[in-house]
C-alpha cells in the first residue's frame, strides 16, 4: 500500500510538471476534437502525430498520445448523444439511448451522465492499473520466448474472435499483417526480405504510414462513397444537471459498468467496445423496466459510458506489462514507444518508472480535465459538428502526408500510405476488419523472434510450447477461443451481436 502511494506520488510529480500538464491538455483537447468529428479516428490521429512526439521525452509523448485516446472516447459519446452518430465505435452503444434522450429534450442530463460516469470509471481504472500492473509485470519477467510466442498467439486469436464479420477473413488479415510486418532486414541473418530491392525498405515499412493508410485514408475513401447530409443535429443543450432521480438511477450502472469495463479492457482484441456492449446487455437484463431501453433509458448511457472509459484505460495494462497491445490504438502506442527507443514489456516499470507512473497519473489528471473541457464547453463542440466533411478531409490528407514523411524523410512512406489506403479500403469494403491486420503488423517481427529463440532453446522440438505449463495454458486458451468461435451456436450469436451494432 505504501508502495502504491509512493509510486503514484512519483507519477504525480512527473505528470504535474508544467510541460506535461500542457501536453496532457493538448492531448485530451485534440482527442475530444477528433472524437467529436466523425470520420477521424484515434488510431489514425495518434499515428499521424507520432513524428511530432519523437522530439519529446518518452513520458511526455506517451502522456499526450494517451490523452488523445481517452479524449476521443469522451468526444465520441458527445456525437453519439447529439447526432446519433458515434464518433467512436465504442460509443455506438451510447447512441442507442443517448440520442433518444436528446430527442426528448434531455441531451443535457445524458451528456452529464456520460461525463460523470466516464470520470468515475477513469479514476477507478487508474487505480486498477496502479494496483495490478506491477505484480503482473513482475510475473511476466519470468516469461521466456515460448511463453511470449504463446501469449502473442493468444492475443492475435482473441483479436480475430472479437473482430466483426467472418472469422476466416479476420484470421487472414492477421496473417497478412504479420507478413507485411516482416518486410525489411531479417534480425538474425541481416538478409533483406520482400523489399522489391528498394533500399529504403530494409528498415521495414513505416508503421505510421501503414496505420494512417489503413485506418485514415481508407476511412476517407469510405466516407466519399456516399456524400450525404448528416442526421439532424441537436444544437441546443439546456439544463446539464441530472435530476435527483437521475442520479439515483445511474449510481449502480456506473459502478457495474466500471467493474465490467476494467475487467474486459484487459482482454486482447476488444477492450472498450466489448465492455460497452457487455455493460448495456447487463443493464438491460437486470433492469426492472427493460422496455425503456432503446427509448431513452439513462442507465443505457451510464453503464456503457463508464465501461468504455474504464476499458480504454485498462487496455494499457497488457501493453505496459507484457508488451502485447490489446487493440489497434495500443498497437500504435507500441509503435510510439519503439520509436522512442523503449521496448514495451515487463521491464518498462523498473527501467522507466517515471514513464510508467507518469502516464498512469496523467490519466487521472486528463480525465479531470475532460470533465471541465466537456461540460461547460459543450456548446463549442456542438458548433464544431456543423463543419462539413469536405472541408475536413483535405486537412487530414495534408497532416497524414507530412506526418508520414517526416518520420524518416523517406518518399516511399508516402507511396506506402497511398498503397495501404487503397488496400485497406478494398479489404474493408469486402468485409475484412483492419484491426487484426494492424495487430499482426506490429507483432510480426517479435513473434518471429520469439518463435526462433524458443526453437533454438528446445533444439527444434515444437513440443516446447506444450511442455512448459504457462505456455501450454496460453496455447490451450487460444485453441479454446478459436474452437468456440467456430461452434455453430456461438457463431450465430456472434453474428447477431455485430448486426445489432451496425
Amino acid at each position: 500500500m505504501e508502495d502504491l502511494l509512493g509510486n503514484l506520488g512519483l507519477g504525480m510529480s512527473v505528470a504535474l510538471t508544467g510541460y506535461n500538464i500542457l501536453f496532457c491538455f493538448l492531448g485530451v483537447l485534440l482527442g475530444t476534437l477528433i472524437g467529436v468529428l466523425p470520420g477521424v479516428g484515434p488510431v489514425a490521429t495518434i499515428a499521424m502525430l507520432l513524428p511530432i512526439t519523437v522530439e519529446f521525452s518518452p513520458a511526455t509523448a506517451m502522456i499526450m498520445l494517451a490523452g488523445i485516446y481517452y479524449g476521443a472516447q469522451y468526444g465520441g459519446s458527445t456525437t453519439a448523444i447529439l447526432m446519433n452518430m458515434p464518433g467512436e465505435p465504442s460509443s455506438s452503444v451510447t447512441a442507442i439511448d443517448g440520442y433518444k434522450m436528446a430527442r426528448k429534450g434531455r441531451a443535457g442530463p445524458a451528456l452529464a451522465t456520460a461525463a460523470l460516469g466516464s470520470f468515475f470509471a477513469g479514476t477507478v481504472a487508474t487505480f486498477v492499473i496502479a494496483v495490478f500492473a506491477p505484480p503482473l509485470a513482475r510475473y511476466a519477467l519470468k516469461f521466456g520466448p515460448p511463453e511470449y510466442f504463446s501469449l502473442m498467439l493468444l492475443g492475435l486469436i482473441c483479436a480475430v474472435a472479437l473482430a466483426h464479420g467472418s472469422v476466416i477473413k479476420a484470421l487472414g488479415m492477421v496473417i497478412l499483417g504479420l507478413l507485411f510486418g516482416l518486410i525489411g532486414a531479417d534480425l538474425f541473418s541481416g538478409m533483406n526480405r520482400f523489399t522489391f530491392g528498394i533500399r529504403e525498405l530494409s528498415d521495414g515499412l513505416n508503421f505510421a504510414a501503414v496505420a494512417v493508410g489503413i485506418f485514415g485514408i481508407a476511412e476517407i475513401l469510405r466516407n466519399l462513397e456516399n456524400e450525404r447530409e448528416r442526421d439532424a443535429v441537436i444544437t441546443k443543450v439546456t439544463g446539464l444537471m441530472p435530476t435527483k432521480d437521475d442520479l439515483k438511477r445511474i449510481v449502480w450502472p456506473i459502478l457495474r459498468g466500471t467493474g465490467l469495463g476494467s475487467l474486459l479492457g484487459v482482454l486482447p482484441g476488444g477492450g472498450s467496445i466489448l465492455a460497452a456492449f457487455a455493460a448495456y446487455t447487463v443493464e438491460k437484463r437486470i433492469s426492472k423496466t427493460p422496455e425503456e431501453f432503446g427509448q431513452g433509458a439513462i442507465e443505457g448511457v451510464a453503464g456503457p459510458e463508464s465501461a468504455n472509459n474504464a476499458g480504454a484505460q485498462t487496455s494499457f495494462i497488457p501493453l505496459l506489462t507484457l508488451g502485447v497491445p490489446a487493440n489497434p490504438v495500443m498497437a500504435v502506442m507500441m509503435g510510439a514507444m519503439i520509436l522512442q527507443g523503449i521496448i514495451p514489456g515487463p521491464a518498462v516499470i523498473t527501467r522507466n518508472p517515471d514513464l510508467f507512473w507518469g502516464v498512469i497519473a496523467s490519466m487521472w489528471i486528463g480525465n479531470a480535465m475532460l470533465v471541465i473541457l466537456n461540460l461547460p464547453l459543450i456548446g463549442l463542440w456542438v458548433r464544431l459538428l456543423t463543419i462539413p466533411y469536405y472541408v475536413l478531409f483535405p486537412a487530414i490528407i495534408a497532416f497524414a502526408a507530412i506526418g508520414s514523411y517526416s518520420i524518416a524523410s523517406n518518399e516511399y512512406d508516402l507511396y506506402a500510405l497511398a498503397l495501404f489506403g487503397a488496400l485497406g479500403y478494398v479489404l474493408v469494403r469486402l468485409g475484412c476488419e483492419p484491426a487484426p491486420f494492424l495487430l499482426g503488423f506490429v507483432l510480426g517481427p517479435q513473434m518471429e523472434e520469439h518463435l526462433r529463440r524458443a526453437l533454438i532453446i528446445s533444439r527444434g522440438d515444437w513440443s516446447v510450447f506444450m511442455t512448459r505449463p504457462l505456455s501450454a495454458t496460453l496455447v490451450a486458451a487460444a485453441a479454446v477461443v478459436l474452437l468456440i468461435v467456430f461452434v455453430p451456436q456461438v457463431a450465430k450469436k456472434r453474428r447477431a451481436v455485430f448486426q445489432e451494432e451496425t
Binding site: 513524428p51 522530439e55 467472418s166 476466416i168 477473413k169 484470421l171 487472414g172 496473417i175 497478412l176 507478413l179 516482416l182 531479417d186 538474425f188 541473418s189 538478409m191 526480405r193 520482400f194 485514408i217 476517407i220 475513401l221 469510405r222 466519399l224 462513397e225 456516399n226 456524400e227 462539413p388 469536405y390 472541408v391 478531409f393 483535405p394 486537412a395 490528407i397 495534408a398 497532416f399 497524414a400 502526408a401 507530412i402 514523411y405 517526416s406 524523410s409 518518399e411 516511399y412 508516402l414 500510405l417 497511398a418 489506403g421 487503397a422 479500403y425 478494398v426 479489404l427 469494403r429 469486402l430 468485409g431 513473434m447 526462433r452 526453437l455 533454438i456 527444434g460 522440438d461 515444437w462
Partner: protein, 185 residues
C-alpha cells in the same frame, strides 16, 4: 473500359470470392519472393523439398530457422484460408452493399498522396502542400474552386507555421527544383 468497371463493380459483390483471391495472390507473392525465380520454378518441377534448397531466402530447419521459415509458414496458412474463401465464395450468392466505388475520391486522394511523396523533396514544403491540398479537395463532388483555393492557402500557412517554424522539421520551404526562381538557398 466500361466493361472493366462493370466487372469490378459486380465482383465487389462477391466478398468471399474476392477476399479469397486477394489472400491467394498475396500468398503467392510472398512465396515467390521467398523462393526466388529459380526456386519458384523448381517448386513445380522438382517438388517442395528440392525447391527448398534453391530458395532465395534460406528456410533452414526448425532448430536453425532461416529468414524464410516463418514467412513460409504464414503464407501456407494464408493460402489455405484463401482457398477456403474461394470455395465458399463460388457457391455463394452475390452479397454486399450496392455503394458505387468512389473512383473520383480514389484518384484524387491517392494521387495527392503520391504527388506529395514524389515532389516534397524537389519542390519543397510550401508548393507541395498547396498543390496536394488542391488535388485532395477535388475528391469531393461538392468542392468548388473557390473553397479549394481557400483551403489550400489556409492549410499551407498552418502547416508552414506548425511543422516548419513550430516543430522545426527538416523540410525545405522551397526545394531545389525552384532554385531558379528564388536563387539557391
Amino acid at each position: 473500359m466500361r466493361d472493366l468497371r462493370g466487372l469490378l463493380q459486380t465482383s465487389l459483390h462477391r466478398h468471399d470470392l474476392m477476399v479469397g483471391l486477394i489472400f491467394i495472390a498475396f500468398a503467392l507473392y510472398f512465396v515467390a519472393q521467398t523462393f526466388g525465380v529459380v526456386g519458384f520454378a523448381a517448386l513445380f518441377t522438382e517438388g517442395f523439398e528440392a525447391a527448398l534448397l534453391d530458395a532465395d531466402l534460406p528456410v533452414g530447419t526448425a532448430r536453425r530457422m532461416g529468414p524464410g521459415f516463418f514467412p513460409l509458414l504464414l503464407t501456407g496458412l494464408l493460402f489455405g484460408l484463401g482457398v477456403i474463401l474461394v470455395a465458399r465464395g463460388v457457391r455463394a450468392t452475390p452479397d454486399g452493399n450496392i455503394q458505387p466505388m468512389p473512383w473520383r475520391g480514389m484518384l484524387f486522394i491517392l494521387g495527392a498522396t503520391i504527388f506529395f511523396g514524389a515532389t516534397v523533396r524537389g519542390l519543397g514544403l510550401v508548393p507541395t502542400t498547396a498543390i496536394a491540398v488542391l488535388l485532395a479537395s477535388y475528391a469531393s463532388q461538392r468542392m468548388t474552386l473557390r473553397l479549394a483555393a481557400i483551403l489550400s492557402v489556409v492549410l499551407t500557412i498552418f502547416v508552414l507555421a506548425v511543422f516548419h517554424y513550430g516543430l522545426g522539421l527538416p523540410l525545405r520551404v522551397y526545394g531545389p527544383w525552384l532554385d531558379f526562381l528564388f536563387g539557391a538557398g
